[in-house]
């Protein structure tokens, strides 16, 4: 049967060049962006920006945003938005603060409970979107205000009138789990590298950079796992299918509802993770935490190659998108430029990315 019908090669299809093949990778734009931004700062910024400590400096905010951005990218590939993640950072921070400070729970309980709260809110968001059939954009916009307001009200309740809840650092002091969510990791490795003379040290022999801030490891780990899930598991295929055309996906047996609700829960949990890390780091939580992060996360995802219409994008792209973000925010302080150029740059980047992505999509689908 197989040999019986051999369709001839279609003479009208040109073979692909390497360039077109690369063009079809969603993360290409973000990687190109990283190279451009790096070149730009190499030319304009103080040379200390690209020393080890300088890199840690811009990678820390990049990591905090990136964890949100990768989750937002996965949700966007699944065809939905979540505008409530920024407020979720504040809300989860408040929950976490109340659990550790007011209730005095150890981290082994406080962190899973915070995650559970966030996941529940994510599930509610997802359920409302699916039940009503309304755009997630508008449903989660409501969430943005509700959660921000709930954080304010809740904080006042837990602190007796203040919008800042202090004392988290004291509460988690000495907790064995704290080292996975705050401070620097791999200190042994860095001490060894310092003694071997690979990295810079202070005159007393201790390394100038004591270790890698934990959020960077979370960020890298999350990017790797997300990429693996998207590209190499059935669940990943379901996410692309759900975002590409949820009707078609449903007809093919993809559990569309479960996929979407899980993704909403994932973004909420990512926000809770960022909340836990930053709250332990700062030692306190306040209602403004995570302000505007929802937009930055979506911009990160779009720079990373996600289409606003869903069904296309990559976690690695969002990873590099977040690095661009961190480099620009922190990098400008190493230059003579006014720091407020940041927002102009951001808007420009977003516009460029959207236009670029649109061209890519036409190439991929062979539209003319």
């Amino acid at each position: 049967m197989a040999a019986e019908i051999q369709a001839s090669e279609d003479e009208r299809i040109r073979s692909e060049t390497l360039a077109t093949k690369l063009m079809k990778k969603p993360e290409l734009g973000a990687i190109g962006g990283v190279i451009l931004v790096t070149l730009f700062f190499m030319l304009t910024a103080d040379s200390t920006m690209f020393t080890l400590s300088g890199i840690m400096n811009f990678m820390t905010p990049a990591a905090q945003l990136g964890i949100l951005g990768i989750a937002a990218a996965m949700l966007m590939i699944g065809g939905e938005f979540d505008l409530s993640i920024g407020s979720m950072v504040a809300f989860a921070g408040m929950i976490f603060g109340a659990l550790t400070v007011n209730l005095g729970l150890p981290l082994i309980l406080a962190i899973p409970l915070t995650m559970a709260f966030a996941a529940a809110v994510g599930a509610v968001n997802g359920t409302i979107v699916l039940r009503t059939g309304l755009p997630s954009f508008i449903v989660t916009l409501a969430g943005l205000f509700i959660l921000r307001g709930a954080s304010l009200v809740g904080l006042k309740l837990f602190t007796g009138g203040s919008t800042q809840l202090r004392g988290v650092r004291d509460a988690v002091e000495g907790d064995w789990l704290a080292r996975f969510f705050s401070g620097d990791a791999l200190q042994g490795l860095f001490a060894w590298l310092a003694s071997a003379g690979v990295i810079d040290t202070f005159s007393n022999g201790t390394p100038k950079v004591p270790g890698v801030p934990v959020e960077i490891l979370w960020f890298i780990g999350f990017a790797l796992i997300a990429t693996y899930v998207l590209l190499r598991t059935p669940a990943g295929n379901w996410i692309f299918a759900t975002g590409g055309d949820s009707g078609a996906a449903k007809n093919s047996g993809v559990p569309v509802r479960r996929v979407k609700i899980s993704l909403f829960m994932l973004t909420a949990c990512a926000a809770a993770l960022v909340a836990v890390i930053t709250v332990i780091d700062a030692g306190s939580t306040d209602a403004r935490r995570g302000f505007m992060k929802e937009f930055e996360a979506i911009i990160t995802a779009v720079i990373g190659g996600c289409l606003l219409t869903g069904g296309y994008g990559s976690a690695i792209g969002a990873f590099f998108g977040a690095i661009i973000f961190g480099m620009v925010t922190i990098g400008l302080t190493y230059t003579d430029f006014d720091q407020d150029w940041f927002q102009i740059f951001l808007g420009g980047m977003l516009l460029l990315a959207v236009v670029f992505n649109n061209v890519i999509r036409k190439r991929v689908t062979g539209e003319r």
Partner: protein, 273 residues
């Protein structure tokens, strides 16, 4: 209605056991009666055409057959046993595959990812259980070759395929996943001449593998090209079933239009419909 004698010979021969037999199906949506007593069956290795004009109830009927809608009354026999499907998934698992007009294809995704959408082959266990993409690519290339399409690469996006090729991917997918009954919803309606003939020959190929094909169309010519039996649906009712060579295209056309009106038009249109 069908006092035409030839229109009664179409019932299944006693020896051929239908895979699916639907008896006197009715379906209402509120006060709209979409189906009002439809009887239909399909046997292995035949192409049974369901013909009807727009609004005749074709779509409602195939959705009932594929488990999307539950009939208000009537019976469904699957391989001789009474059965009712609660979801499209159940019908799919039983072996009833439907290729809808939208094809359930996602243009941005690769042919392989579309082919295995919702039914990905995996390897490994537990946490390392993963999408076996190499095997999936191999199977896709092989199945498409069997249908007469040489893909440039399995990771080619479906959006770059022509309409006929997409239709073929959808059919190949259904057959690969063990369809016993393949329902094709207007597979040729948006295609050009050559693509149509490709799809029709794909249908022929599928039929020869022993799959029962339900070919929905309002184009009598396309139906006549591959059909073994023809059932006409009009205003939610089946008018009867005819066997190939016992009925002409003109007669089918007349029945689809509900008899008289088109026959009068025929004269002025000069056989162009």
């Amino acid at each position: 209605m069908a006092d035409d004698t030839r229109f009664h010979h179409g019932s299944v021969p006693a020896d051929a056991r239908p895979i699916i037999h639907m008896e006197d199906i009715t379906k209402h949506f509120g006060n709209v009666i979409a189906l009002n007593g439809v009887t239909f069956d399909v046997t292995p290795g035949e192409c049974h055409c369901l013909l009807g004009d727009n609004g005749a109830g074709k779509s409602t009927f195939i959705k009932t057959m594929s488990g999307v809608h539950k009939p208000n009354s009537g019976q469904i026999f699957f391989e001789g046993k009474p059965l009712s499907f609660d979801s499209p998934r159940e019908a799919m698992e039983a072996g009833i595959a439907t290729v809808f007009q939208d094809l359930a294809m996602i243009p941005l995704m690769s042919v392989t990812r579309n082919f295995f959408m919702g039914r990905e082959p995996t390897k490994g266990k537990g946490l390392t259980r993963r999408f076996d993409i190499d095997r999936a690519n191999e199977i896709t290339m092989e199945e498409m070759r069997r249908m007469g399409i040489n893909l440039r690469a399995p990771d080619q996006a479906v959006g770059t395929l022509s309409g006929g090729e997409r239709q073929t991917v959808a059919i190949a997918r259904a057959v690969y996943f063990g369809a016993k009954v393949l329902i094709l919803d207007e597979p040729t309606s948006a295609l050009g001449v050559r693509q149509t003939s490709n799809v029709l020959s794909t249908i022929d190929r599928v039929r020869k593998q022993g799959v029962g094909v339900v070919f929905i169309s309002h184009n009598v010519r396309h139906a006549m090209a591959v059909g073994d039996r023809f059932t006409v649906l009009n205003r939610g009712q089946t008018l009867g079933t005819a066997v190939r060579d016992e009925i002409t295209a003109t007669e089918l056309q007349d029945l689809m239009a509900g008899g008289q009106e088109l026959a009068q038009l025929e004269g002025s249109l000069g056989g162009t419909v």
